[in-house]
Symmetry: C2
DNA sequence: GTTTGCTGGGAAAGCGCTTGCCGTACCGTA
DNA sequence: TACGGTACGGCAAGCGCTTTCCCAGCAAAC
């Protein structure tokens, strides 16, 4: 592994000159020497040591992205947006998956701090757990104290730049749309309530139902993991409790869960939307290809990732508080929800 | 940003002692001093500088994963497998997306080299392009010369450790299974032919058809991008060319394309599998939830990612040549393919 | 001819950490 | 009492690079 010193020696110049030639400096170097250095570097297959550069120059071109799980299309889309954007800025992205383990999340944040990453983007964390949150807050604060930039996607626990989808508003709009279709009796497939996203959507949905005096008694709410299988299991349990016979519409608080829900309904021979309507949330890419295509609430996931990166890259006045980019959610009605005319019900 | 030196001073010990306390060394330090150091570190919010550590100690705990696009479920699954495995080994993963741009791929490999990443995993590259391949080969060789480890997933252009799914075998098995169902007339939805994965699958499929004297004339082969929309467009063009009326089964060379194909068929009001059977390849998680659930060839994607990491982590004798982990592909027949009985055809 | 101003090269001081080596204190043993 | 052995601190030499500062050389100005 050739070093700069070796290159300099072989080119017959000083370390300083070699450095100036090989790594964009403002200083001009005479063409003759420049060529010699380049030739030597090529011959020796010189590859700069990024660690040494970081140490000496005090800067890195890497940002960290911490998210739940790349295999989850929701996060994959966000990450994809961030990465595509990062590529344009010549940034190296370090990505880590927490698999919803707060300890791992904390560990990764510390790791990125140690790496002196330029910025950290947190997506889809948001546990509603006093103690862990506090620990993470501390870790982030000390990272920021050292000059690091932080942005979070889809949560609002921290005083940092945030990309905030309108989960409540989206859920309310979805409720309204479903009410407009004539539905009054809903079952809800929800995720772990300590996830802020779940809470917001739940609250929004319930709130709007309340305004319309539609019911959502607790026994019609089933929760499971925030996963496909969680959605599947939740629908099974709703069925076993006889709830599916009482309602005309099932709402899942994420598309991933809705996919599981749809599978369960299919296995139960319950036709969607003829017998039951079904809606999800997020509009991940695959759901438009389900049969029937899923009604859902669209979030511009890729863009959210990109915007988070923007937040973190923009230089900004120290004085300003944390900024919040609000992202609108839009109801998309597709084939999985039907208008509830007289007589159609059951 | 506190440094080790400051911690040492505050604790009243030498730099060496502080280092030994804070970063796992074999050397023992008396409990009294140890406590002082820990206290000082805590108070000063000391966070070790990973770059300095890397420089001084000559080791890093990071590996690079270079793949096409996280948003593509195929790669997301592979990446997910690798990340989950990496987490167990306390590794930091740097992930980059090439978006199928060979230049970007090359750039990332060089970047990871500069970062002195412990290992690089390349997934889903595999362009069939003489010149780019050569460039990449050179970059990888020089990385390896510096002690880096390399593994690739699903290709075989380089003399490096490889996780190799049996694309040809899988395609042959799929052909056999479809022939067994009675199909003789196929249309093929394929991807860019410079992708090795595409070629292997194509060759395997065509080979097996040939053995059974079934036809696959060129006009029944449509290609598009290796994407959902590519699959959609390909089926549209097959339809416009009247091909869909000649065949009983459409095979897409990846599930992602099959999803697009299915959508196109639905838009064309062509029932699957009643009128046409459809099969894909990969068995990405979502396809079992399509309607009808997609017949496909299963690849253990998560495991492939994990195995690649294993390859790269295992210490091995210098003498051994590159190792190849072969991964079996297994046909999974689901609802999208039907037996072709007499009379069912068209 | 002397001074001034500029260009471009080099010496060397770090950046924050690890670790080989040496030194000291203290133990047990003969 | 003397001596070898062990435990544990500290000194200092790097790791590979950037960058400040200094200096030589030369052209232009006086």
């Amino acid at each position: 592994m050739a070093t700069l010193a070796e290159v300099a020696r072989q080119a017959g110049v000083s370390l300083a000159t070699a450095s100036r030639v090989l790594n964009g400096s403002t200083r001009v170097v005479r063409a003759e020497l420049r060529d010699k250095v380049v030739a030597a570097a090529t011959e020796l297959r010189y590859t700069p040591n990024a660690h040494a550069q970081a140490l000496a120059g005090n800067h890195t071109a890497s940002v960290g992205v911490v998210l739940h799980d790349v295999s989850d299309p929701y996060f994959a889309a966000i990450a994809g947006g961030a990465m595509r954007h990062a590529a344009e800025h010549d940034l190296l992205v370090m990505m880590s998956c927490t698999f919803r383990d707060p300890d791992r999340e904390l560990a990764y944040v510390r790791m990125l701090h140690q790496q002196r990453a330029q910025a950290i983007i947190l997506a889809g964390s948001g546990y509603h757990d006093r103690e862990r949150t506090e620990l993470l807050r501390t870790a982030l604060a000390s990272y920021q104290a050292g000059g690091g930039r932080v942005a979070v996607v889809s949560q609002h626990r921290f005083d940092v730049d945030t990309v905030l989808p309108d989960n409540q508003g989206g859920a309310r709009a979805l409720a309204r749309a479903l009410l407009d279709l004539g539905h009054r009796d809903f079952a809800l497939v929800t995720g772990p309530e300590h996830l802020l996203t779940v809470r917001d959507r739940y609250l929004g949905f319930r709130h709007e139902l309340g305004r319309a005096a539609a019911k959502l008694p607790n026994h019609r709410v089933a929760d499971g993991g925030f996963t496909r299988d969680g959605g599947y299991a939740a629908v099974r349990s709703l069925h076993e409790a006889g709830v599916l016979d009482e309602v005309t519409c099932v709402v899942a608080l994420s598309d991933v869960m809705a996919i599981g829900a749809l599978a369960a309904l299919r296995d139960l021979d319950i036709r969607v939307p003829d017998r039951l309507s079904l809606a999800g949330f997020d509009d991940i890419p695959t759901v438009r290809d389900l049969a029937p295509p899923l009604s859902t609430v669209r979030l511009p996931l890729e863009e959210m990732g990109a915007r988070a990166l923007d937040l973190v890259l923009e230089t900004r006045g120290e004085s300003d508080g944390p900024r919040v980019v609000r992202v609108a959610a839009e109801v998309v009605l597709r084939g999985s929800t039907a208008r509830l005319d007289e007589g159609v019900r059951r």
